[in-house]
């Protein structure tokens, strides 16, 4: 058997092969989660490494009755929150600078889409800008929902909030984004 819970049990037992399988399985997910949130590939790389070190070290504390995905994203969310807090992104950097610097990586992955009209590109720029301007918890919640495809319950577990708080965050994040998309 090679499911996540089984891998975690084996990792806790010191099997390095199991750890490698787990990293191979989730490395891309973790890296892209952090890349979306930080916009900086070096940061995403460092955070992904920290994430897996934390998973490895806490393998003995993992309980298989909770889905591994929730456990994984809980650590990832905490790392992101702590990283974004340290960098004080919203306070220290202007949104312009952030879009220019931070979202290069994400935006670049759209540029090669020839089907996208000028309006489409403008919408996308505004969307990235709106996203960059959201409070960090809102961004994390949105990322967990849209990219991570977590349910409200799973997001609540990952972020240590109530389901109703998560729902409110998502609504407010979307309202804020809609306002930005509507501007100009």
């Amino acid at each position: 058997m090679n499911d996540d819970a089984d891998l975690m049990r084996r990792i806790a037992g010191g099997e390095s092969d199991a750890f490698r399988v787990l990293v191979e399985r989730y490395e891309r997910i973790g890296y892209n989660f952090f890349l979306r949130l930080t916009g900086v590939s070096e940061d995403a790389e460092d955070l992904t490494q920290e994430l897996f070190i934390a998973v490895f070290r806490s393998a003995g504390r993992y309980r298989p009755d909770a889905p591994f995905k929730a456990f994984f994203y809980r650590i990832a969310s905490n790392l992101s929150a702590s990283h974004l807090r340290k960098r004080k992104l919203r306070a220290a950097q202007s949104i312009d600078e952030m879009v220019e610097r931070g979202f290069d990586a994400a935006s670049a992955r759209h540029e090669d889409d020839p089907a996208l009209s000028l309006d489409g590109r403008e919408m996308r720029r505004r969307y990235e800008e709106a996203l960059a301007g959201l409070p960090r918890d809102w961004r994390i919640a949105l990322e967990l929902r849209v990219a991570g495809e977590l349910t409200y319950e799973e997001i609540a577990g990952a972020m240590g909030k109530s389901v109703s708080a998560v729902e409110s965050i998502l609504v407010r994040a979307r309202e804020r984004i809609a306002e930005k998309l509507d501007e100009g």
Binding site: R74, V146, R174
Partner: protein, 150 residues
């Protein structure tokens, strides 16, 4: 039904969490309210933009560096409370003492030797609570992570 409730329903709809009864309320409100229709259209556009971001490939060096970090890293996970500070402090003190004694014993001690000392002091695992460690996670989840907007 007021627009605040409707926007919550739109958000649920985007997340595939809207039930049948909610759907009927939503549709009848949207037929009458241009503001909520606009919110829904823009939110759908935003969702589609968000989903269209292509995933990036992690750098090939990432996997080996994760495995190496875990392989090389001492397990500090068993340390709790004051040990978190006391043990690294003792290690640092021993290192400093060792360098001092070494300096006394070795006339050839030079600033070049001091470079090695810096490497020791830069060990990531000497952090009080390494990011992502259980201590850090527990600290963050119990106290931090607050939503500054509320």
């Amino acid at each position: 039904m007021d627009c605040r409730k409707i926007r919550r329903m739109v958000s649920r709809e985007l997340d595939g969490a809207l039930d049948g009864a909610g759907r009927a309320d939503l549709d009848s409100h949207l037929a009458l309210c241009a503001g909520c229709r606009r919110f829904r259209d823009l939110s759908l556009a935003g969702l589609s933009i968000h989903r269209s971001v292509k995933e990036a490939d992690p750098p090939p060096s990432l996997l080996p560096s994760i495995l190496a970090a875990v392989e090389a890293g001492p397990r500090w996970g068993w340390m709790h409370g004051w040990l978190r500070i006391a043990v690294p402090a003792a290690v640092a003190a021993a290192a400093v003492f060792g360098v001092w004694v070494g300096g006394l014993m070795h006339e050839s001690y030079s600033p070049a030797t001091a470079g090695n000392q810096t490497d020791v002091l830069e060990l990531t695992y000497l952090d009080e609570y390494p990011p992502g460690s259980l201590g850090d996670i527990l600290m963050t989840s119990s106290g931090g992570g607050g939503d500054e907007q509320r």
